[in-house]
């Protein structure tokens, strides 16, 4: 049961190997993996949109979509048909090459990240030695593409949204990378497969440095995906829809797809790095992975349904003045924990981290709510 998909793939390869030469077998192995990833990516994205609408609906005490098919299960199909049949409008002064390339180039890294995610035991499509570095490289390409989209639309508001988004993504890359360093200290390898195997005894989130690192990584990841509460560049902010204003029809569908695929990758990576990946008793490994990833996605949708948006300068201030120092202190705390070991290390790491959290809250007084007095007069 645990190795179900691996066995299926091996059976298929044996079948091909009966009547085909070796090079064809290895080619078809690659093709099966790639095909599975692509299909998985699109399928996940479609049903994530439905899950988001129903989850947010339930939080607001209403039913989500339920007209198209039982429980709304055909709603994504209806949305896809709608997006495909829309007219593709390119504004006249826009740069046609950039306008055409931007949606395509934003989906490609989003799909490529799926290659290093360990979906289960022996189920990583491409177990690179530098898997984590590959992930960071791919997610940084997205930044440039968003700016391409905003600039190529030749629209004041789109370029404004594009620039804001670039600033946001660059600001949140730094704490994200730094918060992963303690994990590397502990494991000693960048490969995602080895990171999961190192969590066989204790998930990293249960250590003090791991908990803080998980929270920082998750928040930065949410900011990277341009989701609430950091969705200033995208949602109907003061002015229209930000960098993807001028894209309609299939191009907009590709942007939307990329956003959800990014969200899935961030959730999957948080589960891999901190929550133990596919480790877990009883159930098959890929089922554990799905459970962990989807609960993190539920948390993302939970944030979207509850929290208001941050303003641009406050958002960047949060990254540079709060999360970055906390991530740096986290590395120190992780070092102490690993060097001293045992309860002494645990306690010292915890004390340092809590102290720095309080200290940073005091220093950033503009982010902490003030106490107000209200008079009730006659």
């Amino acid at each position: 049961m645990d190795q179900l998909f691996v066995n299926l793939k091996n059976m298929a390869l044996h079948l091909i190997g009966v009547f085909a030469p070796d090079w064809l077998v290895s080619l078809s192995s690659i093709l099966i993996s790639v095909g599975a990833m692509t299909f998985l990516g699109i399928f996940i994205m479609m049903y994530l949109t439905l899950m988001e609408r129903k989850v947010i609906g339930r939080m607001q005490n209403r039913i989500g979509p339920n007209r198209v098919g039982k429980w709304g299960l055909l709603q994504p199909v209806a949305d896809a048909i709608k997006m495909l049949t829309k007219e593709d409008i390119v504004p006249e002064p826009a740069d046609r090459l950039l306008h055409f390339l931007a949606p395509v180039m934003i989906v490609i890294p989003a799909l490529l990240i799926f290659a290093v995610i360990p979906f289960g035991r022996n189920m990583t499509a491409l177990d690179l030695n530098v898997g984590l570095l590959y992930f960071f490289a791919m997610s940084s390409t997205t930044t440039m593409v968003i700016f391409m989209a905003g600039w190529g639309s030749r629209n004041k508001y789109a370029s404004l949204g594009g620039m804001r988004s670039v600033a946001q993504m660059i600001s949140y890359e730094v704490p994200m990378v730094l918060s992963v360093v303690p994990v590397l200290l502990s494991v000693g390898s960048l490969s995602t497969g080895k990171i999961v195997e190192a969590q066989a005894d204790l998930w990293f989130v249960l250590t003090p440095w791991g908990f803080f690192a998980c929270v920082i990584f998750f928040l930065c990841g949410v900011a990277e995906c341009n989701r609430s509460p950091f969705d200033l560049p995208e949602a109907e902010s003061e002015i229209v829809a930000g960098f993807h204003t001028e894209f309609s029809g299939m191009k907009f569908a590709l942007f939307y797809m990329a956003e959800f695929m990014n969200a899935f990758s961030i959730a999957a990576l948080t589960a891999t790095l901190f929550l133990g990946g596919w480790q877990g008793p009883l159930l098959p490994s890929w089922l554990w992975f799905i459970l962990k990833t989807y609960s993190l996605l539920f948390v993302m949708m939970w944030f979207r349904g509850t929290l208001p948006r941050l303003r641009a300068d406050q958002m960047m201030g949060l990254a540079w003045k709060f999360l970055l120092p906390l991530a740096l202190v986290n590395i120190l705390a992780a070092g102490l924990h690993l060097y001293l070991g045992g309860p002494a290390g645990f306690a010292s790491a915890l004390i340092i981290l809590l102290g720095s959290f309080m200290g940073l809250s005091k220093v950033n007084r503009s982010y902490v709510p003030e106490k107000r007095e209200y008079v009730l007069a006659d």
Binding site: V55, R58, M59, Q60, N61, R62, I63, W302, F303, G305, T306, L307, F357, M358, S361, Y367, V368, P369
Partner: protein, 192 residues
């Protein structure tokens, strides 16, 4: 407290609502969506939408006497009445034309308040949308006439009050007519 406690408490409220929507009843905070058009909420009795004319037993016995008061009092002037004439050209107490333009009517209920003959009342029908923009919502006399039973069905309390009042008025009229007749009979006998 800690920086972030406010957000966490807010998240707690939303999560509570998320779970409550599955098992709690509407009054206590569960789902209160009524899935129209399969299920509908009943309208309240005094709900006023567009007007209709009441007739007693047959459409010939309509209560309206074409006095034109509702047309004069209507704020957006959406009622148009023309009195009927009989063959000799003398005016009858019935309208020949009684048009209400529902695209103009603003559901204020003033026509119902000012009618002295209990003829026009506000209906509960609201699913009367039509694709024809020009005259689908211009209702003529045959469309507006509805029986008193319908009025009693949709607004039982008000209809009961109106019926009681009309019955009382009729009793008084009959009693007055009977009193005049007995007086006249008495006067006839006397000179004999």
């Amino acid at each position: 407290m800690l920086f972030g406690m406010g957000i966490l408490r807010g998240l707690g409220v939303t999560l509570k609502n998320f779970f409550a929507s599955y098992y709690k009843k509407p009054e206590e905070g569960g789902l209160f969506t009524v899935e129209y058009p399969e299920k509908r909420l009943p309208v309240k009795e005094r709900f006023r939408n567009f007007p209709f004319l009441v007739y007693d037993t047959t459409p010939e016995n309509m209560r309206c006497v074409a006095c034109d008061i509702c047309a004069k009092e209507c704020p957006p002037k959406c009622i148009y009445i023309v009195r009927d004439n009989d063959e000799a050209g003398r005016p009858l107490k019935k309208p020949a034309i009684f048009d209400i333009d529902f695209t103009v009517c603003m559901n204020c209920g003033i026509c119902e308040e000012v009618c002295p003959f209990d003829a026009i009342y506000m209906d509960h029908e609201f699913e009367i949308a039509d694709a024809n923009r020009l005259d689908a919502l211009l209702y003529n006399l045959p469309d507006l006439l509805k029986p008193n039973d319908y009025f009693q069905k949709i607004r039982p309390n008000d209809a009961a009050q109106v019926d009681a009042r009309r019955l009382e008025a009729e009793e008084k009229k009959k009693a007055a007519v009977a009193a005049v007749k007995t007086q006249a009979a008495a006067k006839d006998i006397k000179p004999e």
